[in-house]
């Protein structure tokens, strides 16, 4: 016996690549994610050519082995050195866009995916193969609604579902959000067994640090609500927080909100699991298929046009995350959503040392330790403008590093190995947009403001109930798009990042 290793950092073998390819993950972006190759300390330097050769031998097309998106930094760099940069001198430029690929710009072209042709019709067409769309397709199948087609313009995990930090928390500021999040946490716990694929749910808790008296007031009010809702949230002193994370600088915050039941997960397998089980339940999932328009007839959408053909349908669900606004616009429907870039990074993998996800209220910093040992963290930027932009900035590295090292000084020696960005799908009140808009059969499932991933498992159940005629949850009345015309809206204020 022996192993032929292709990616030495992550111990990925030729057999692993073959298995991924045969499972249907043929393009290099998907193979990277499914096997983990190229995500280690060397950043894919030594493996990418060998993997491309292997895939070609297996029958991949040249387009499918185009190298995966390049992500800085090219060499590991300690957070402490990045923290010394002056972020104020660094701009917020868009960077080289990762999506959509500009013509001839060398970003991986959309591969010609050898999926089956599109069906001529489907009862329900879900636009967007992120966690929202895929979980909805799965839940519809479980309720007997099987003629469902999910259209994804890239590979699975190309959008925010594959770009987020994997946090799942019940610490919200309204009973509705707490209810949804608790249900999602239950489903995350069961996901691996229910869906047959590991998602590495770990209930390490969430620790929100409150650096100002105003923030302390806020977490105290939330904790009161949480206890009423049956959560174990406690407001704890810096000394108690240091028992949870001894490496924190206890002088940097006045109190903390601690809930030991919150969790982190590994996002990617959620999509693979939902996609696999949705298809087993009768749905079809088509990747590398872009929606280009809608055919309408009176108050209804009659068909979805794509770059691979037309699909007649009874109902359309727009679940495109940050792209929901532009997809709705294809039907002439205006959504209030404001997609906004959110940057994130990952460090070298370390032995387990950090239990919870740590977040600092006020500046939006958050970080946790992934199942593989990396520190995964992000931080919003108040001057980030609206726009679907997924390029990376040095400014983010500098801002994140300074905030992280201030919060936990020993991070200074931890090295960043990769940065990327995704988009928050922001709405005026930080709450989602659900239900029909513009047309009676044009449903919206968007506007989750950076927490769509954690809400999806629960929301999909409720949405599937509604579409399958099993009752309409109150969220669909509460979060309809018409609420913005009805006057002031109460804002969810516990958004991080």
């Amino acid at each position: 016996m022996g192993k032929e290793i292709l990616c030495a950092c992550e111990d990925v073998t030729v057999d692993d690549v073959r298995r991924a390819f045969e499972t249907g993950y043929r393009d290099l972006e998907s193979v990277k994610r499914y096997t983990g190759l190229g995500t280690g300390p060397c950043q894919g330097k030594s493996c990418i050519a060998a993997v491309a050769r292997t895939l070609l031998k297996l029958g991949a097309t040249p387009a499918e082995v185009a190298p995966f998106t390049a992500r800085p930094p090219v060499e590991p760099v300690p957070l402490g050195e990045l923290a010394a940069l002056d972020a104020a001198t660094l701009g917020l430029d868009e960077g080289v866009p990762a999506e959509p690929p500009p013509e001839g710009a060398g970003v991986a072209p959309v591969a010609a995916h050898p999926d089956a042709p599109l069906p001529a019709r489907a009862d329900i067409v879900i636009v967007g193969g992120g966690i929202m769309g895929l979980s909805l397709a799965y839940e519809l199948g479980r309720r007997g609604v099987r003629d469902v087609l999910v259209l994804e313009r890239g590979y699975l995990n190309a959008g925010a579902s594959g770009r987020n930090g994997g946090g799942v928390r019940a610490q919200w500021s309204t009973p509705t959000m707490i209810r949804l999040a608790r249900r999602s946490l239950e489903l995350c716990d069961r996901f691996a067994v229910d869906m047959g694929i590991n998602v590495w749910t770990r209930r390490g808790g969430y620790l929100f640090l409150a650096p100002t008296p105003e923030q302390v007031t806020r977490i105290e009010a939330n904790a009161t609500l949480h206890r009423r809702e049956g959560l174990r949230t406690r407001v704890i002193s810096p000394a108690e927080a240091l028992e949870v994370v001894p490496e924190l600088d206890g002088s940097r915050f006045l109190a903390a909100s601690w809930n030991p039941d919150d969790a982190v997960v590994f996002p990617w397998p959620f999509l693979w699991g939902y996609a696999t089980r949705a298809q087993a339940g009768g749905a079809s999932v088509r990747t590398f298929t872009r929606v280009t328009g809608f055919e309408t007839s009176g108050t209804r959408i009659a068909a979805v046009q794509t770059d691979r053909g037309r699909v007649a349908c009874q109902l359309v669900v727009n679940a495109c995350g940050a792209w929901s606004k532009e997809v709705a616009a294809l039907a002439g429907v205006a959504l209030p959503n404001r997609p906004t870039r959110h940057e994130i990074l990952v460090t070298e993998p370390l032995r387990p040392w950090l239990g919870p996800l740590v977040s600092v209220l006020g500046n939006g910093l958050y970080f946790s330790q992934s199942q593989r040992g990396e520190i995964v963290g992000g931080m919003g930027d108040p001057v980030e403008p609206e726009g679907v932009v997924q390029g990376s900035t040095l400014r983010f590295l500098a801002r994140f590093a300074r905030a992280a090292v201030t919060t936990l000084p020993r991070l200074a020696g931890v090295k960043v190995i990769r940065q990327w960005a995704g988009c928050y799908d922001v709405t005026p009140d930080n709450n989602p947009v659900l239900g029909p808009a513009g047309f009676e059969n044009f449903h919206q499932l968007s506007g989750f403001v950076g927490h769509g991933f954690m809400m999806a498992p629960a929301v999909a159940e409720l949405y599937a109930d509604w579409l399958a005629g099993r009752g309409k949850d109150e969220i669909f009345g509460r979060f309809g798009v018409d609420r913005f015309q009805r006057g002031p809206v109460a804002k969810e204020d516990f958004i991080i990042g």
Binding site: M1, G2, K3, E4, I5, L6, A8, C9, D11, D16, R19, Y34, G40, P41, K45, S46, A49, A50, A52, R53, P67, A70, P72, P73, V74, E75, P76, E81, A83, L85, L90, G91, D93, E94, G95, V96, G104, A105, G106, D189, V193, I197, W200, T201, R202, E348, P349, L350, R351, W353, Q371, G373, G391, S392, T393, L394, R410, A412, G413, K415
Partner: protein, 427 residues
């Protein structure tokens, strides 16, 4: 005979508490090879024995803990009398790692996606155990080395930034300096020359004296040759490329170059063979540089994997140093665990050796070019390379490239193309 006699050890470093003879300034990885101890680490998932492979900071197989900091590359750690390192990711030691059992238990590989998903209890256990096995080094110690001073508030303006001080980059920098341009020439290695350091003596190959001359001319024209300085990446900032450069222990520098010539060469190609990741399998160029600069002999009998002029030249260099050489145009399997014992060569069978030098064409280092949006093209075998015209222009205005980053090219031709790219960058 771990070293050529002309290169005596002159200091002692400490590895896991054991003294190891070394030459001050040489990379730790070279000292370990010279000491006949290629085993250096254990891999992330299966705890496979590993040693330094690429020797130029391009792979992740030689990570050690040094100065309280985890995951430092042994090929980038200069030996000094006070260098104390600890190996990582092994229980109790890299030589006898109990977790190496994982490699045997999962002899056919471990499908972590579907591991223990049969019931909640088993899955919870899998998550807990996997977390305990995850990660490489430990969190930096509270007493880890001081963070270098902060960079200047303003990015340095340079007329041109040339990345890579191999034949192409040197020639590009020279062409720019001849016109009086202020050039910053950066290379992540501590010595200029790139593959010239291997002293392969290929037809028309420039010598290292030429490299030294170029460095002098670049400096005389107001430029700088920044060795041991890696370009971390390019970001678009205020509409123009911004580069961050890093010298180990010296902090970051920000550079806004007017022109960029990318000559980072290629990354050593791993040996595509069963157990081709064993300690004692090294990139040939790195071994030859260590031989030339520090007299390091990788073993008594070395298999040179690969075909063509470079593999033959590499074999000749090892033979001239007194190492028995086995030609291995292809390798199907590597035998040995803590170090190489033999290789399987198709058509020849088992060939005894105690080291393998991999002399395969490198994979073009396209990442920096791609960060600026430059088009790449797959070669016949799928290996991507930066697409350039005859003057070295990429698809991005103001961004040029030359040398092995654009595909296979011998050192003489790389220098010629580098020169042309440098001339094109002047205009």
């Amino acid at each position: 005979m771990p070293r050529l006699p002309a290169f005596p050890s002159d200091c002692t470093v400490t590895v896991d508490g054991v003294p190891l003879p070394a030459r001050a300034g040489e990379p730790l990885a070279a000292a370990l090879i010279a000491a006949g101890r290629p085993l250096l680490s254990r891999s992330a998932k299966y705890h496979r024995p590993r040693g330094a492979f690429c020797l130029v900071g391009a792979c992740g197989t030689c990570l050690v803990r040094a100065g309280g900091l985890p995951n430092q590359r042994a090929c980038r750690l200069p030996c000094a009398p006070d260098l104390v390192i600890e190996t990582q990711n092994a229980v109790p030691s890299v030589r006898h790692d109990l977790l190496g059992l994982l490699d045997a238990v999962y002899a056919h590989g471990m499908d972590h996606h579907h591991l223990m998903t049969w019931n909640a209890l088993a899955n919870r256990a899998a998550v807990a155990v996997a977390r305990q096995l995850a990660g490489l080094g430990q969190l930096p110690g509270a007493d880890a080395g001081p963070v270098p001073p902060g960079p200047p508030a303003q990015a340095e303006p340079w007329e041109a930034l040339v990345v890579g001080a191999g034949p192409a980059g040197l020639a590009a920098a020279e062409a720019l300096a001849e016109q009086g341009r202020r050039v910053l020439l950066a290379d992540s290695e501590p010595v200029a020359g790139g593959r010239l350091r291997a002293r392969l003596g290929l037809t028309g190959e420039p010598g290292l004296d030429w490299a030294a001359g170029v460095a002098a001319r670049v400096r005389a024209a107001g430029g700088e040759v920044a060795l041991g300085t890696a370009v971390l990446g390019f970001w678009i900032d205020a509409g123009a490329p911004l580069a961050a450069l890093r010298g180990e222990g010296r902090g970051l520098r920000l550079v806004r170059p007017g022109r960029i010539v990318l000559c980072p060469g290629g990354h050593p190609t791993p040996l595509a063979a069963v157990d081709g990741d064993r300690p004692g399998v090294h990139a040939a160029r790195g071994l030859l540089a260590a031989l030339a600069e520090h007299g390091v002999l990788p073993g008594r009998r070395i298999a040179v994997a690969g075909e063509g002029a470079e593999a033959q030249a590499a074999a000749a260099r090892f033979a001239a140093a007194g190492v028995a050489v086995e030609a291995a145009p292809a390798v199907a399997r590597v035998h040995g665990r803590a170090r190489v014992r033999a290789v399987e060569v198709p058509g020849r069978g088992r060939v005894l050796c105690d080291a393998v030098a991999v002399a395969l064409p490198p994979a073009p280092a396209v990442t920096l070019a791609r960060l600026l949006g430059a088009a790449v093209e797959p070669g016949e075998d799928g290996t991507p390379a930066v697409r350039v015209d005859a003057e070295g222009r990429t698809s991005v205005p103001g961004l040029l490239a030359a040398g092995e980053v654009t595909g296979a090219v011998d050192p003489a031709a790389a220098a010629e193309r580098g020169r042309r790219a440098g001339e094109a960058a002047r205009g």
